[in-house]
Symmetry: C2
């Protein structure tokens, strides 16, 4: 049985989730679809995000997958509940694992969240957190400069440091949070810079790491772990592959070719 | 719908798991059964541990529970697979969540585990870890003095420090682990002392915290979260209640009376 984990994303940010899945579950095959032609999803209305997400899911459902990871905050916020009702296989988003990890980590019940303007405005993280514990104090901060910076490969250095420090200043000055959720799949690539800006005492939670870890739990509880040993990953993109490859390489600092048995393919939905 | 999370343990160690469940999932009702009359399970043969565990489970299955947490390393090692096959509700043990958290945490793929002699001898942690990633280097160390020390309330101070330091010396000296799993439900109470002995660079994983966090994930994926707000917890013990109360108070540093709406009851299986 060689059923794969399906990963859907609006574009390339979800690659940090795919990367963590490969690291934490090295035996599992990943089939990734990134809607690079229509990204970003952030500014789109809810009904459109739902429709696009459903198209990605329908594509993956023909590929013998055993579970779906929605590796995009916007798609999770707008489409996860519907997917959970409609699909016959387990589905997990990126918001809830980060929320649960933050609840585990916090000692003073004060949690910060950074994300894109869309994610912060959606209130999806505060809602996920307060559904579990309504005594939490939650502070969100939009960081609109971070994604463009990551996509240009600027992860460290003076400029990145300056942008990150200035952006996070209000969160550092005006709150007493002890835990900070990286509520955007691009942000784990800035983790070192963010940790330095916030100081050692703040626990940083990467939604990508946490989502991979909960995927591992859900596979086990549902008896879906593979006995496979040499997975052949497969990446599908709706947009230009050159752009994807460039970003992939800048993100992972290794060429796609070095990824064992990974296939890359452009498709039309 | 006021269905509870059922927690079973050989005795009182599982209270650290119950405590984490209450902290991370403050709306959820807990029904705990501790087999204090027949504990410890560690030295017993597998078939006996299975039979006892099944008796605890049968008791809880009459109590309108929605999920079972096996909050005992020995019972998890010997009975979890059977329970997962036989029960119509989700079941989680304490071994796999700690293993998955360690896999998430490690950067160098070198993981240490401390536990009772029984848990270390059972190889349950190395098996759970290597099932997911067989390139991990795993080192186990039995710490037979820790449980008696915790049960006497000695969690800090010079004597605890000395015992912990001397016990952990081989793990610190002879390995390059970057992550250490507390593979016994009593050990989170020694976490500060263990962290001090191992040094700041070692990431300590508490199975109790991680089990509570994965319970939260499994509830959500299975649409089992409560909308309850003031859960009435219920503790059942097969043995003497006085002993349980004393240990509970020494562990949690607050009297049982202060725990909102908790009932304590001695039962015969």
């Amino acid at each position: 049985m060689d059923r794969a984990i399906g990963v859907i994303d609006s574009g390339v940010g979800g690659l940090t989730v795919a990367h963590e899945l490969m690291r934490q579950l090295p035996n599992e095959k990943i089939i990734y679809i990134g809607d690079t032609q229509r990204c970003p999803y952030g500014p789109r209305p809810a009904h459109e995000v739902k429709r696009f997400t459903m198209e990605l899911v329908r594509f993956l459902m023909k590929k013998n997958i055993k579970m779906i990871v929605v590796a995009c905050n916007t798609a999770t916020a707008f489409a996860l509940d519907d997917l959970k009702k409609e699909l016959p296989i387990p589905v997990i988003g990126v918001i809830q694992p980060g929320a649960r990890a933050a609840i585990k980590s916090t000692k003073n019940n004060k949690i910060g969240i950074i994300g894109t303007e869309g994610t912060i405005a959606s209130q999806a993280y505060p809602e996920a957190l307060k559904k579990i514990n309504d005594h939490l104090e939650v502070t969100g901060l939009a960081c609109p400069l971070f994604v463009p910076m990551v996509e240009k490969g600027k992860l460290e250095g003076d400029q990145a440091k300056k942008v990150v420090e200035e952006t996070l200043m209000p969160l550092k000055k005006a709150t007493e949070i002890d835990t900070l959720i990286l509520g955007c799949t691009h942000y784990p690539l800035l983790e070192d810079t963010i940790q330095a800006a916030m100081g050692d005492k703040i626990q940083i939670i990467s939604s990508s790491e946490e989502t991979a870890r909960e995927t591992s739990a859900i596979l086990e509880v549902n008896h879906l772990n593979t006995t496979n040993r040499q997975p052949n990953h497969h990446f599908f993109m709706t947009g230009d592959l050159k752009q994807f490859k460039a970003i992939y390489e800048s993100i992972f600092k290794k060429s796609l070719g070095k990824l064992k048995s990974a296939k890359l393919e452009k498709i039309a939905l």
